[in-house]
Symmetry: C2
Subunit: 380 residues, 2 copies
Amino acid sequence: MKLTVLKEYLNESIQHVSKAISSKTTIPILTGIKIDVDSTGMTLTASDTDISIQSFIPMEKNEIQVIDLKQSGSVVLPSKFFVEIIRKLPAQHVEIEVKDHFQTTIRSGSSEIQLVGLDPEEYPIMPGIEENKSVQIPSDLLKTMIKQTSLAVSTNEATPILTGILWTIAGGKLKFTACDRHRLATRETNVDTDPDFTLNNISISGKTLNELSKILPDQNALIEIVFAENQVLFKMSNILFYTRILDGTYPDTSKLIPQAYQTELVVDTQKLTEAIDRAYLLSREEKTNIVKLVMREDSTLEISSSSSELGKVTEELDTFSLTGELLRISFNSKYMLDALKVMDSEQIQIGFTGAMQPIIIRPEEGANLLQLILPYRTTG
Amino acid sequence: MKLTVLKEYLNESIQHVSKAISSKTTIPILTGIKIDVDSTGMTLTASDTDISIQSFIPMEKNEIQVIDLKQSGSVVLPSKFFVEIIRKLPAQHVEIEVKDHFQTTIRSGSSEIQLVGLDPEEYPIMPGIEENKSVQIPSDLLKTMIKQTSLAVSTNEATPILTGILWTIAGGKLKFTACDRHRLATRETNVDTDPDFTLNNISISGKTLNELSKILPDQNALIEIVFAENQVLFKMSNILFYTRILDGTYPDTSKLIPQAYQTELVVDTQKLTEAIDRAYLLSREEKTNIVKLVMREDSTLEISSSSSELGKVTEELDTFSLTGELLRISFNSKYMLDALKVMDSEQIQIGFTGAMQPIIIRPEEGANLLQLILPYRTTG
């Protein structure tokens, strides 16, 4: 293998695939990045067995010659050092040459780096995925859906299935669901598929989807998502992102969401967020994050928290509307802040069915997004 | 005590004094910020016994009324919560009212915060400092001198005196010296004092001086520095910064610096820094940071590092001049990078007196700054 490649392109590819490298892997070959070069271009691969990422560098892009190929071939290079040194090379061109026993030489300007390469034959082969089940979603929308639901994913490894976001497709709608024992988030969108196409019990690690978010392009490109037996493949321009489907059966959460509310209010999203944030600051000192909401006759809200040692925060807030029974309800202010921060409308609706029942937060318009928080059982 | 103050000014003052608050203090009153209000303005004080910072907010500034005073008084408020809540208050004006038993109420817009205040009588009194020994230095210059020497301060608490920067004044020159067992940094400047004014054995914690740097104004204001028995006071506009002088006698380091060189070279600062940085990346993986410098007949340098597991980095570098005996010398590349990063000239001079003797790095012009690094004793 011998080629010259533009540093800028190589660097970008390395940054993409390096998100799949785990420092904790027990499989030595996976501490490396696999490089394959042929007449079509250069492919970089990294994997931690849960995630695998492939990034492709074409020979030419926008009429610029990116790669000057001398000889095809493959090698695996130690990722940690490789990632850092390429970024710091002095010249715009990087020459990579692999000789016997995968001894690799990297040259750029007045720098010469010798690297002990590993045998690419030892590197695991990427899963074969048939493209019979797939959908396409705009990149921005996918990022937003991940952000709006991943906050509710469980961090408790004792219930692995709940560390994922559940993907379901039915009737032309794609829905994300995430929940732990204290909260639930759902987000729905229309997708352009056969109305008979359904998808059940596909749960993908929330952490993995957050990693995916980081490499999803900012431009509103369509991302093709292919569902196979155990794997899901996200296809971006020049990047393939493979991830495992979590084992187990995702619980039915539909019954948790009330069908009608006893009390409903509409408030300014930002003002509520700021008021709860101040009450949260004090509640955090008590380690409980308990904040109390009291609804008043004059349709205003009192939001408060207190600490026996430090004192008390009291906030007053106007509502746009307040209907139904006036409640006093306590909740985890951190969870409420997480939910409020992913609301994408200036006003929000909050629905209650009693002081001990779930709190439902939705954007004022549009029923695509729902956040549910269980209240605290407190007295007074 | 009762007053209204503009949030922006209160916030700025809090940010300044909060640098003196230690979360590890065993003296409960020192977890608070002391507030004193009288007809001249508001003074905030914070201290961790090593450092004390006072910040003053005047009644008026630039013809804006900053404080509206209703009643003078003092209180100590719990710093952690106070610092955060003030920043997040909803309105531009903040009302602070202290009632019986130091119960404090803070009001801003629709927020009301009750805080359990502490008795200001329990707060330690700031050290009295006579102004008979003082110098004035421009803020920028003081920051630069701290940056250029603090890198060489010892982090080993077993020799407390070496965790400080030594300040000496003689013949109208102020000199900073810092050293640990492996390196030494000195920086000198002219100061406008009586030529008979001398200062010896004043060592001030490097950590403290770095904290001071953060609040030194960016505008090139003159900072007055007052030296007392055990304390040094830095006087900025509206801020007083007190710090302890370290106990013990600072060792004589003058004999460490060679008077003449066997080999001298001049190189481009940035190119040398980048070449050593690449060699450092590999040497770091070996935990030794060893980088080797070889001088060649043609006046070029070879800089290299190697790792038995990963490979080798080799860098070639031109010099502007290379005189004297050609050496091979090994050193800690991390220390070299630290020294190179504070050089303020495009070219630097490096002086050697043998492969086992100190390496001296200086800016190409100006003898005010000197960095010394001891080489590694290696074979080959």
